[in-house]
């Protein structure tokens, strides 16, 4: 098992004919992901790496009714429209890679998807991978190996770094989710944790947080209340970041006194979570708990 994504995923790539869309379609296919269709308005009838392209999601789903997941590489101005199209076409999981989407647009499509029962990952995220089963995202596949540890992360490259460090020590991963660096995102830490709690394959969890917002504090509360019972190891980026400055990610900012490194670490430690000082301590800490 894995969470949200496994070998049964049948994927549609929205924005498949673009540079990024086409490049990552190739990499996802090489990884073994079952991509059944692509959508780019006005490019219907073409193929990209052997994948048929349609003008609309409706046509794609009509021809490929088994499709249940989409990944969006559409530019920011048109990406919200693509999300609504995916939700209305009945996708269960929508991964939004696009960055720089206006935050009020994200606010709306995230609420809309929730009402319709669609899980959104992102925006501004690397996607999701269940090693050995499928990858719907832009992460380097070879970095991750199958195994018992789940990872939920607000950062892209840092996730690769931690996945690599774990894999090198022979510790594989059940599912790795990069939830994105924007202030408003779909799937949150705690929502992702509910999936990992139910997954028998996942024996422990790594939370990769950063300054800004209060998702880490909420995760800590969930653990304290006994709603997440598996061992958790965490790393929080931004210990030395000054308040009021945006550190690359739009969401990584200490504002109105909330979202500090100290507050997050204290909340997690109070909940019994081991917080690593560097990402490279994570394999050792994981070995202690599994």
């Amino acid at each position: 098992m894995a969470v949200l994504l496994d070998e049964n995923a049948r994927v549609i790539v929205q924005g498949i004919t673009g540079r990024e869309g086409s490049f990552h379609t190739k990499l996802m296919l090489e990884y073994g992901t079952k991509i059944v269709a692509g959508v780019t308005p006005g490019k219907g009838g073409q193929t990209v790496h052997g994948v048929p392209v349609y003008d609309t999601m409706e046509e794609a789903v009509k021809e490929h009714p088994e499709a249940n997941t989409s990944i969006i590489f559409v530019p920011a101005r048109f990406a919200p429209d693509a999300v609504y199209e995916a939700v209305d076409a009945g996708m269960k999981l929508v991964v939004v890679i696009t960055e720089h989407i206006p935050v009020h647009e994200t606010l709306k499509f995230v609420n809309y998807a929730k009402q319709k029962g669609t899980v959104i990952i992102g925006p501004n995220c690397p996607g999701i991978i269940s090693p050995g089963k499928a990858k719907v995202g832009i992460m380097p596949g070879a970095t991750f190996k199958p195994g018992p540890v789940g990872i939920i992360s607000r950062s892209g490259t840092l996730t690769y770094e931690i996945g690599y460090a774990l894999s090198k020590e022979g510790i594989g991963q059940s599912t790795v989710i990069g939830i994105g660096g924007d202030p408003i995102i779909g799937l949150s830490f705690t929502e992702a944790m509910e999936y990992f709690e139910k997954d028998p394959e996942t024996k422990a969890l790594v939370l990769v947080g950063e300054i800004g917002g209060d998702m880490e504090e909420r995760a800590a509360k969930m653990i304290e209340e006994g709603k997440f019972t598996k061992p958790v190891v965490a790393f929080i980026a931004g210990r030395t970041a000054p308040p009021g400055k945006r550190m690359g990610h739009a969401g990584a900012i200490i504002m109105m006194g909330t979202g500090t490194y100290k507050g997050k670490v204290e909340a997690l430690e109070k909940a019994g979570v081991k917080v690593a000082k560097t990402p490279f301590e994570i394999p050792e800490l994981i070995k202690e708990v599994i």
């Binding site: 206006p102 690397p126 380097p140 490259t157 030395t240 400055k245 990584a252």
Partner: protein
């Protein structure tokens, strides 16, 4: 992007909010003539239009009781940096006698993924102070982004901060306008503090808005360059922004380049953990070209706070060979570079990258901890 007080107030007045009578003056303007045109007479409040927090406490807001006061204060404020920023504009506003100051704001609640209204009957101090001193006074109301703020919700909030009668109606009308401004301008924050209660009417004495940077393309009327005026950025940050680099200035001596915000922040933290101090944050993002890497490296070579440079790359879509080419090019073009540079390369095309670097006589590490220790001891 932060808006100036006068811009935020102008937006609110377009939404039907009564704002204090005012006039905007630039250096060289005759303030008294401008005041006369606008029908203003002392007493007035003269306010430096700067975007730094704590403007009032830093001496950027002054009361002028006479025409003589106005001239002196205008002269003073145009020559006095407020937390390092000399204002380019001053707002002269009628003084509004009032006894009660309220607080009202709309922000994005990241966890609920909804806008949330915050209000308190204790305005005048900042929200951090209110939540410390009078946490029970803060009223919160979430808003469904598809439905918007309903009148009854606005009245309910007004009621909970102790308003009634005509004052309650005035407050509800103000909040509705503030919400309209918040959504129409893609704001992350819209705030009035203090929001004065004058008789039965609320009047925003100050107004603040932050517009989402990703939405600026659809607000050409406000999306003008204001890097220098904003006071948000240092000289080197402005330089970097103009070059398209994601750079934040810090106080240490080790210049840092990483790919991805999380990894770059972590690189800063690693340096700190092993006893060094980062001089900056510089994220080259995903899939950086050799050209961009060259730009970033050259920038740090010129940046005087960085006495040495640490480059930490974990390749995903970023390719190690592109990074290596960029570094080599930067060093070739700048010729004699005395700053020590340490590179850690892992992930996609790291081996190819290392080969390029070795041929140019630059050592590259695979292990980040070894690399950090090396740069600190150099």
């Amino acid at each position: 992007m932060k808006l100036f007080e006068y811009e935020a107030k102008h937006i609110l007045s377009q939404k039907g909010v009564k704002i204090p009578r005012s006039v905007l003056i630039a250096p060289g303007d005759d303030p008294l003539a401008k005041m006369e045109e606008a029908g203003l007479k002392p007493p007035v409040v003269v306010k430096a239009q700067v975007l730094v927090a704590g403007r009032g406490k830093a001496g950027g807001i002054k009361m002028a009781k006479t025409e003589e006061d106005v001239k002196n204060i205008v002269n003073e404020l145009f020559n006095k940096p407020i937390k390092g920023i000399v204002p380019k504009l001053l707002l002269i506003e009628e003084a509004i006698p009032h006894e009660t100051e309220l607080y009202a704001a709309i922000v994005l609640d990241r966890s609920e993924r909804k806008p949330v209204i915050l209000a308190s009957k204790y305005g005048g101090m900042d929200i951090e102070e209110i939540s410390r001193e009078k946490p029970e006074s803060i009223v919160r109301q979430h808003v469904d982004p598809f439905i918007g703020l309903k009148g009854y919700q606005a009245r309910l909030i007004g009621k909970k901060i102790g308003l009634s009668g005509k004052a309650l109606a005035s407050f509800a009308k103000f909040l509705t306008a503030l919400y309209e401004a918040f959504t129409e301008y893609d704001a992350e924050l819209a705030e009035s503090n203090p929001l004065a209660l004058v008789g039965d009417e609320v009047i925003p004495l100050d107004a603040r808005m932050i517009v989402d940077d990703n939405s600026l393309y659809r607000h050409p009327e406000i999306a003008k360059e204001r890097l220098e005026e904003s006071g948000e950025y240092t000289e080197w940050e402005i330089k970097a922004r103009k070059m398209g680099l994601g750079f934040v200035e810090l106080d240490g001596e080790i210049g840092i380049i990483g790919n991805g915000a999380g990894l770059t922040m972590t690189t800063m933290d690693l340096v700190y953990e092993f006893g060094g101090k980062p001089a900056n944050f510089l994220d080259i993002g995903g899939g950086a070209s050799a050209e961009l890497v060259k730009k970033a490296v050259s920038f740090l070579i010129e940046y005087p706070k960085a006495k040495k440079i640490f480059i930490n790359i974990f390749g995903g879509i970023t390719r190690g060979d592109e990074v290596a080419k960029g570094i080599v090019k930067a060093l070739e073009e700048l010729g004699d570079v005395s700053k020590p540079i340490v590179i850690r390369l892992a992930g996609t095309k790291a081996e190819e990258g290392k080969k390029i670097l070795e041929e140019a006589g630059i050592a590259a590490f695979t292990d980040p901890i070894e690399a950090v220790k090396k740069v600190i001891e150099m």
